[in-house]
């Protein structure tokens, strides 16, 4: 079958262009449908109120609160560890070192592990081993730390988002020119002083970007918190590290698959999804803006 070349060429352009357009359209459609289904329900009461009548009425404030608490704790643990790791990889180990390669390998592997496996780790390590161990030592075996709660869920999430932070901070550290480091050392500063006074201040944008991206990921991933601390309905907001918590993504999941009257909760499902989407997108856009700003500075 001999098709004239011209048509093959047109066909190729069509297929590839079509794929790109289809993808773009898909994204817009998903966003559009969620917006359309949920926009009307986005009122102040919805955002600030608590669920009522079996989730068919009321608001989702506890879920919003829980999500914020989760990502805050997660960042407190993950951002410093990620930043320090990035510093170590760039300021202390050489190109060829075994230590550097081992750590990078570990980071890459972490990045590829499915989210649910992190959940299993949270259960097996944090809840059962650390929590259970703490219970044996502190409470003679009574169940206190050895169960799902916001602390373990946050730590699990911190581990999941660690690679994101490391990559972002590294990106920023690499833009600090060698001459600045040399200038500092030539004045009689130590390596640590140089890092603290010259490299880190210059890397702040990267650290911030990393934190934002990690938070965005942390707010969106549900699999790791399925059995490490999230709950569907709690009468009170979490006020201690041993409490469970409500969370936006988890709420959407349970509400849409297991609520008693799925049809009646539909508007709230859409609205909650919209809130989550707005949250994630705002975070991502901020990160993109920061990164663009960082690139601009590096070129100067």
């Amino acid at each position: 079958m001999n098709i004239p070349k011209k048509w093959v060429g047109r066909g190729v352009a069509l297929v590839t262009g079509g794929s790109a357009i289809a993808t773009v359209v898909l994204v817009l459609v998903v966003i559009g449908i969620v917006v359309q289904g949920g926009w009307g329900h986005l009122t102040r009461d919805f955002l600030l109120g608590s669920p009522e009548q079996g989730m068919t009425k009321g608001g989702i404030f506890p879920a919003i609160f829980g999500t914020f608490l989760l990502v805050t704790l997660m960042s407190l643990a993950g951002v410093p560890v990620g930043t320090i790791t990035a510093i170590y990889l760039n300021e202390y180990v050489g190109q060829q070192s075994k230590a550097g390669r081992a750590i990078r390998f570990a980071v890459n592997t972490l990045a590829g592990i499915p989210a649910i496996v992190f959940g299993l780790f949270g259960l097996g390590f944090f809840i059962n081993f650390v929590g259970g161990g703490a219970d044996k030592v502190l409470y003679g075996g009574a169940l206190h730390w050895g169960q799902p709660n916001i602390l373990w869920a946050s730590l699990t999430m911190a581990l999941l988002t660690l690679p994101v932070v490391i990559v972002s901070v590294e990106e920023a550290i690499k833009t600090v020119p060698r001459e600045l480091r040399e200038g500092s050392l030539a004045l009689g500063a130590t390596r640590l002083e140089t890092i603290w006074k010259v490299v880190l201040p210059q890397s702040m944008t990267g650290i911030l970007t990393g934190a934002i991206l990690a938070i965005s990921r942390g707010a969106g991933e549900v699999a790791p918190i399925l059995f490490t601390g999230a709950a569907y309905f709690l009468p009170n907001l979490p006020d201690g590290l041993t409490d469970q918590f409500m969370e936006l993504g988890y709420h959407i999941y349970i509400m849409s698959t297991q609520s008693v009257d799925v049809e009646a909760t539909k508007p709230i499902q859409f609205a909650t999804t919209l809130v989550l989407l707005i949250l994630t997108f705002t975070l991502n856009f901020s990160a993109i803006f920061l990164r663009w700003h960082l690139r601009g500075r590096a070129l100067r």
Binding site: G183, L185, G188
Partner: protein, 253 residues
């Protein structure tokens, strides 16, 4: 060793991996003089300079043998702290590298690092250093301006101010004016002439004119070896080595 020798090297060798970059360099640098290091590109003069304040320590593949003495102390001895050495022996780089901080913070960086916290002392040191670098009058009205907002020549003088703020005894300058226009260059050269009263200066330059204008002593490097050294006038008018003469007269390099 002469009482008026500040720095000396004996049989100094440096290898970058397999590359033998400095070969058996013996050099005496006199106190409170300006010593110029000249030679074609890649001859090792900058590498040599960096040995004097142990900046080559930063390069993984560099291996150094031989002796480098500052005021009679071997600086590569085990009990020598490179950090304190660099306070005594300062460096100005080819491309000016002010920190992205204010002028004040740039100059105060060194003293702060060495433990000076008192605001008044710092202000005093900053003013003294900026005067010493002939920059004070141009920036005194706004020390909070970013160091990066200055012109090329001013930035380099800022770097000089920064270096003298820690009160060194030696200043190593690696082609300090090569990135500057003639007027800024002239200002730097004039500054060097003034600074030699208080400091010992070693300057690497690829410009023979600059060397003859600015230095008292000149050493000619070629392919990692220090070929000849002597009073600047003698080197430029009647060098003893043929290689030196060839370079000076422009036959190569």
């Amino acid at each position: 060793m002469n009482a008026s020798t500040k720095i000396l090297t004996r049989d100094l060798n440096l290898h970058y991996g397999d590359k033998h970059a400095l070969r058996h360099v013996d050099l005496d640098i006199p106190k409170n003089h300006v010593t110029a290091l000249i030679g074609p590109s890649g001859c090792g003069k900058s590498t040599f300079l960096r040995c004097l304040n142990r900046m080559n320590d930063l390069i993984e593949s560099a291996r150094i043998t031989g002796r480098v003495e500052v005021d009679g102390t071997d600086i590569y001895a085990k009990d020598v702290d490179p950090v304190l050495l660099r306070r005594k022996v300062g460096m100005i780089f080819q491309k000016s590298n002010p920190f992205p901080k204010s002028i004040f913070e740039n100059v105060a960086y060194g003293p702060r690092v060495h433990g000076i916290k008192d605001k008044n002392r710092l202000e005093e040191i900053v003013e003294r250093s900026l005067r010493g670098a002939a920059l004070w009058d141009e920036v005194k009205d706004d020390l909070s301006k970013s160091g990066l907002a200055l012109s090329g020549g001013q930035q380099q003088r800022l770097c000089i101010a920064r270096a003298i703020a820690v009160d060194p005894e030696v200043l190593l300058m690696d082609e300090p004016a090569s990135a500057l226009d003639p007027i800024a260059t002239a200002k730097i050269e004039e500054l060097i002439w003034q600074l030699k009263e208080s400091y010992t200066i070693v300057i690497v330059t690829h410009s023979m004119h600059q060397a003859s204008r600015v230095s008292d002593t000149t050493a000619f490097f070629y392919m990692g070896e220090m070929v000849e050294m002597g009073p600047t006038q003698k080197i430029f008018t009647s060098p003893s080595q043929k290689r030196t003469e060839d370079y000076i007269t422009g036959r190569f390099g």
